[in-house]
């Protein structure tokens, strides 16, 4: 046990209950005296926690893999997470905001603000390479190109995530969610989702 240096109350030590050791417990004013240097550390911890928040539709991808977290700011004890919506009408965005809040609260942060930022608009170019690999092993073909190539709207060859054949065909421009198109492999015959360039 350690004493809060400000209110002198005893604070339980981290007992391994949380995935990441909490260093901010907003209930205690001792937070006010965190030296400036540890704000950087806290930010790093927040990023680590965000890596565990997954997309509700594609649970193998974290919000970091998806590239929707634009920034983490800490000011006046408030943790602000700035996220960019994937699609204007994406119903997952509210869930993602909620999940981020929940995960941070589990890790003893309690003053949290989720801010939506529209510009610059989200693009699949921000998806991490790790995220693309995860998509593939989950059975979803990752974006086949970068959007700044300009011809990303042409029907680019898409590799089947099951048998790696390039002999695939577009079934529908829109799949099970806005962000995906539906393809079928001409070799193994399996239909699969393709995460389109956006």
């Amino acid at each position: 046990m350690q004493k809060c240096s400000s209110c002198k109350e005893l604070i339980p030590d981290w007992n391994g209950k949380y995935e990441i050791e909490p260093i901010l417990n907003m209930n205690h004013p001792f937070q006010n005296i965190i030296p400036k240097s540890s704000i950087k550390e806290t930010e790093a911890r927040v990023w680590k926690i965000l890596n565990k928040v997954t997309d509700p539709e594609i649970p193998v991808l974290s919000v970091i893999d998806l590239g929707i977290v634009r920034d983490v700011k800490i000011e006046n004890e408030i943790i602000e997470v700035i996220i960019t919506p994937t699609y204007s009408g994406c119903p997952a965005m509210d869930f993602i905001g909620m999940n981020i809040r929940e995960k941070l609260m589990e890790n003893n942060f309690d003053k949290i603000r989720i801010t939506h930022r529209l510009s610059p608009a989200w693009t699949t170019d921000w998806m991490t390479d790790e995220g693309k690999e995860k998509l593939k092993s989950y059975g979803i073909a990752p974006p086949a190109s970068k959007t700044f190539d300009n011809d990303y709207l042409k029907n680019l060859p898409v590799q089947c995530p099951h048998c790696t054949s390039m002999n695939t065909k577009l079934i529908s421009q829109f799949g099970s969610t806005s962000c995906k198109a539906l393809y079928q492999c001409e070799d193994c015959g399996e239909p699969f989702d393709y995460f389109k360039c956006h």
């Binding site: 919506p85 699609y87 204007s88 009408g89 994406c90 119903p91 529209l118 510009s119 610059p120 608009a121 989200w122 693009t123 709207l153 079934i171 529908s172 421009q173 829109f174 799949g175 099970s176 969610t177 806005s178 539906l182 389109k196 956006h198």
Partner: protein, 262 residues
């Protein structure tokens, strides 16, 4: 209190945001009528995804409109839901084409195609608006609309250059929709507020719209009808009889049970 010119300017901004929001919402709402009725599962999903994008865009514009309305106003705060659910048809500023009944698949495709090409060029220009929020929403939306244009273009070609029946239906649809195209390019008062480079003048995109539409129609072995008398009024609250029915259905819950939440 704001001075008179500021108020007028604010009203123009609100009207412009509402016009963009209303067109997207009514288009999206109409398309959502296809949910569970699409000609095949994949297209049912496609059209509902497009509807979802449009309703999302509408929400962004409504949220911005309510922000402008509420700024400097300490009385009752207006929400995006108030704007969608509690305005009557004469207050709606959507384009008439968005409220037309879906009818068959060909007319639905024609509506999405003509409308999406228009939205595409509007957003492309609006990205350069001096108003940051208009610019941000346009940037976000134009990526989505690009796919709507692509998807509906494919269908225009498939139906136009398809069977005798599909071609006949596509031609009927184009002839029906054509008189509703004119008002897209006639600026309303709030769209002429472009000296601050906030709004865009829709007359400026007519050439681009015609080029794109004609090139897709050529591939579909179709063509636009001759110029004819055109309907107008949507932007200024004068609507076809269809809008009233849409609003009656869409607004029923909030009118009957004010403040109801899911």
């Amino acid at each position: 209190m704001h001075s008179e010119p500021t108020n007028t300017y604010k009203n123009y901004l609100v009207d412009y945001a509402l016009h963009l929001a209303d067109s997207s919402l009514i288009m999206g709402h109409r398309l959502s009528e296809w949910t569970g009725h699409g000609p095949m599962l994949e297209q049912d999903i496609a059209i509902t995804n497009i509807a979802l994008d449009l309703i999302g865009q509408a929400r962004n514009f409504y949220q911005y409109a309510s922000e402008i309305i509420n700024s400097g106003n300490t009385e009752k705060k207006v929400t995006e839901d108030d704007l969608a659910y509690l305005r009557d048809s004469f207050e709606y500023k959507n384009l008439l084409i968005t409220e037309l009944p879906n009818d068959d698949w060909a007319r639905t495709i024609g509506k999405i195609f003509f409308f999406s090409v228009m939205q595409f060029y509007v957003y492309q220009k609006l990205i350069h608006s001096s108003d940051q929020q208009f610019s941000a929403i346009a940037e976000k939306s134009s990526k989505e609309v690009t796919y709507h244009v692509k998807w509906s273009s494919d269908w225009m070609v498939r139906l136009g250059d398809g069977t005798e029946e599909s071609r006949k239906r596509m031609e009927t649809a184009i002839n029906y929709l054509w008189p509703y195209i004119g008002e897209m390019f006639i600026p309303s008062e709030f769209e002429l507020n472009d000296k601050n480079k906030v709004t865009i003048n829709p007359a400026d995109i007519k050439g681009d719209w015609l080029n794109k539409v004609n090139s897709v129609l050529a591939e579909a072995t179709l063509s636009l009808p001759a110029d004819t008398w055109m309907h107008s009024g949507g932007k200024n609250g004068i609507h076809t009889e269809h809008l009233g029915y849409i609003l009656a259905e869409m607004q029923f819950m909030q009118r009957a049970y004010p403040g109801l939440e899911w």
